[in-house]
Amino acid sequence: MNAESPKMNTVGRPSAPELAVETTSFKSLLGGRGLLQSEKLIFEKDDYSRTGVDFADIEIDAADLDGLLRDDLSLPGLTEPEAMRHYVRLSQKNHAIDLALYPLGSCTMKHNPRLNEKMARLPGLGDIHPLQPVSTVQGALALIDSLSHWLKTLTGMPAVAVTPKAGAHGELCGLLAIKAAHEAKGQGHRRTVLVPTSAHGTNPATAAFVGYTVKEVAQTADGRVDVADLASKLGPDVAAIMVTNPNTCGLFERDVVEIARLTHEAGAYFYCDGANFNAIVGRVRPGDLGVDAMHINLHKTFSTPHGGGGPGAGPVVLSEALAPYAPKPWVVAGGAGFQMLEHDEASSSANFGRMCAFHGQMGMFIRALTYMLSHGADGLKQVAEDAVLNANYIKASLQDVMSVPFPDGPCMHEALFDDRWLEGTDVTTLDFAKAMIDEGFHPMTMYFPLVVHGAMLIEPTETESKDELDGFIAVLCALAGAAKAGDVARFKGAPYLAPAKRLDETRAARAPRLSYS
């Protein structure tokens, strides 16, 4: 180094922090956050006349539409480079599975294989129309048939209705089949659905949606359905029970066979919420447990991407008793290839109607089948085992620093903690979750299930390596230590290092502003 060096161009030279400079209160000149650009709304552009497509501006003589033409269209346009900037900048404000463990309990945030995406974009699958003549889409029908075969085999159930578009839509499908079956047997007076207190919100919402009265079933001290309470509530008014298994406490319902027996004895049907099928796929068949209907979230167990909130897919497997009531359309294999039964007249079934315009979430069927074929039966069994192993490893590693509401015995695919261990720290479950963001992880599901105070539900999934789990465990241990040591500001102000500080949800709801104006 000579005396001239400070004046030299420093490009290519290593830089190091200047320790004498205090950096925490640093503010950029115009309020930017470094490369994380603040991004205006597309509506805040001055000029709406740009476009990112090159279509000719033709003249038309729309005489037949006299009086029907609009002149009020006001939508901003972006050229392609502007669009790329806008959406890529926005993308950088999102957390994602591909960035780190995403432990949302009950959501099964597993890796999304990219082969699935590639297959869904094959022109012969991604670019075919639902109303092409069936003779021109035999491969599509064969694919649906193949997916159905896998789902039926893995669940041990005789039939599957593929059209429901998400888990809650599958619940709707299952309950409508149950309703139709009761009505066909002269049991339409059955108007009650029993739901455990720990159920997903969609269960009571779906039951109420189709006009049933919801009655809650109590839970035992070890986090399972209280069979005695269930038995006391089963009766001639009960149409169905809706039980999640493994349940939302991450536990297998040990008495599930007895639950099914009691339910059937009372003349009701057993709807199983299959959101947590990932824990048992390849090892347990719901059909062997006495289930009558169960939706399968293809976006959970079978890895189709969550996409920022869908699209999902929720095929419903059905028992012999419910199969005749499955909604149309229906794919059948015949002598001359596959057929699609779309009309009541064309089928002898007592179908309850139609769930949606076409044949369900084909794009998700392609991805899910690709995933199944990749794993094979042996790989899927390994999926369940590794998912359960990972969850139990987290539970074992954290049970001494956090509190576990149901400590006895193993959990399944998710580890549930409560907030007893935070007592006296002035840190809440919400604060703790927000502080996880500053350490690089998405928070776990919080305050659910409702039966556990300050619940923290952690579902790692099988696609996490031991290294990633150990890193996650280290973060939670460190945060737990900080909470117990009284470092409250770390939690109350969290997140400090996210693209946004803690957001005011109360204000958003008080004076809703839902679109740009």
């Binding site: 109420a208 090892r283 699209p311």
Partner: protein, 446 residues
């Protein structure tokens, strides 16, 4: 297995930490009778190479629209999607995130949803829109339920031009909850008939424009009649591209609008996933189904976005929720929003005019060839009443490598409509495709 990172060494170390001998000990709560021991009769693990070959074999059995003259519509439309759309939706941060429950680390998704809602509101001419539903048909069903909540009445009048699959989707849900539906007779143009069905028990009138036969309708009169009777007008749109040219439902007085958004940004994908657009008048805000994204500020006072008014939703209200929907159609909403941004008002108008011009060219050529076009006013889709049944005709056309449209009989068995063929013509259709359709129809539909 390439998606499973744990090694056998990892597994052993983790079992030791847990304090059990084998993974079987973790499944001890499963009743012995339900434990699977034997092998499952399904294939074993397979590499990318093998799986790709299997999926390609399925794809190869289908006739891909890109290869042939293509006129199939009736609720799903083949439009050109800019390459940018598919690139952006495959970014990890959009593809592999979930519902933005933690807004501080989901501002990307949330701002997109806010922009999406704003685009949908402007496109439909309505003050508020939600963050998407599954598709147009389920949006229509939700809108009927909402109308009965709002009016405390129990009857829905369904226009005879409503897509039969939409009608069935609405009827399935409505009848399950005890809502009565009154479906008008199938008709190419049925405004007058709809008006006759409105009475003091009517909760809502559901009208589609352009309807399943392609007919565009000014629904202003129906809006006035419905509202005068205390009912809501629900406007269904299955071809969202039409809103680049046609008066918005809001301008015509709609109370609720349920739209299939597939035409903008979402590939055909054999029927799904698509994206339902749902918009309404402001006074129904707290009765809307589905997620809503709203503007707020963060602790530093910076603008930010959150999911809001969740007290309508299942995870808070449980059996008192306005809908049971949870996962909706987020990534398709993103695709819609990107494509809409790339189009902008200028691009949308231009592509809409091209659709109009091509469809009318096809109509003119078919009419000149002696075919009976029965749709009086249309955007990019019209109906031809063939001299023979339409179902075998489309099969015969397919044998000639022409995908010539949708027979109405495919959608519904309705006497008098056996010969009706619904023909959609988008910007992807060339003049020579139209000529091929006309000459092929002359051969097979005589």
């Amino acid at each position: 297995m390439r998606y499973l990172p744990l090694s056998s060494g990892d597994r052993a170390a983790m079992l030791e930490k847990i304090g059990v001998d084998s993974v079987d000990a973790l499944f001890v709560d499963v009743p012995p009778s339900a434990r699977r021991t034997g092998t499952v009769d399904l294939p074993k693990v397979a590499g990318e190479l093998e799986v790709e070959a299997q999926l390609t074999a399925f794809a190869d059995q289908n006739l891909s629209p890109a290869k042939v003259p293509f006129f199939v519509g009736a609720g799903a439309y083949r439009h050109h999607i800019p390459a940018t759309v598919d690139h952006i939706i495959q970014r990890s941060e959009f593809l592999t995130s979930y519902t933005p429950y933690q807004p501080e680390i989901a501002q990307g998704t949330l701002q997109v949803l806010f922009e999406f809602q704003s685009q949908v509101a402007r496109l439909t001419g309505m003050p508020v829109a939600n963050a998407s539903l599954y598709d147009g048909s389920t949006a229509a069903a939700e809108s009927v339920l909402m109308a009965t909540r709002v009016t405390k009445r129990n009857k829905a009048v369904l226009s005879g031009g409503l897509h039969p699959h939409y009608r069935e989707t609405v009827e399935t849900l409505a009848h399950a909850v005890g809502i009565e539906t009154e479906a008008c007779a199938v008709a190419v143009d049925d405004e007058a008939d709809v008006l006759k069905h409105i009475d003091a028990n009517t909760a809502c009138v559901v009208v589609q424009t352009p309807n399943v036969f392609g007919t565009a309708t000014d629904v202003s009169e129906i809006a006035k009649a419905a509202q005068a009777a205390g009912a809501l007008l629900i406007v269904v749109v299955t071809e969202v591209m039409s809103l680049g040219l046609l008066k918005s439902p809001g301008e015509m007085g709609a109370d609720v609008v349920a739209v299939e958004g597939q035409s903008i940004g979402v590939p055909l994908s054999y029927g799904g996933p698509y994206v339902g657009l749902f918009a309404a008048k402001e006074k129904y805000l707290r009765q809307l189904p589905g997620r809503l994204c709203g503007e707020t500020v963060d602790a530093d006072g910076e603008r930010g976005f959150v999911l809001t008014l969740s007290t309508r939703e299942q995870h808070i209200r449980r059996d008192k929720a306005t809908s049971n929907i949870c996962t909706n159609s987020g990534l398709c909403a993103l695709a819609f929003s990107i494509h809409m941004s790339l189009l902008g008002q200028e691009g949308l108008k231009r592509v809409a005019k091209i659709n109009y011009a091509k469809a009318h060219k096809a109509k003119d050529e078919l009419a000149a060839a002696g075919f009976d076009v029965v749709t009086p006013r249309f955007f990019n889709e019209f109906t031809v009443k063939l001299p023979v049944a339409a179902l075998p005709v489309v099969e015969a056309l397919a044998a000639k490598n022409v995908l010539g449209g949708v027979p109405f009989a495919r959608l519904q068995d309705a006497p008098g409509f056996e010969n009706h063929l619904i023909v959609a013509v988008t910007e992807t259709v060339s003049d020579s495709d139209i000529a091929t359709l006309v000459s092929a129809l002359k051969e097979v539909a005589r």
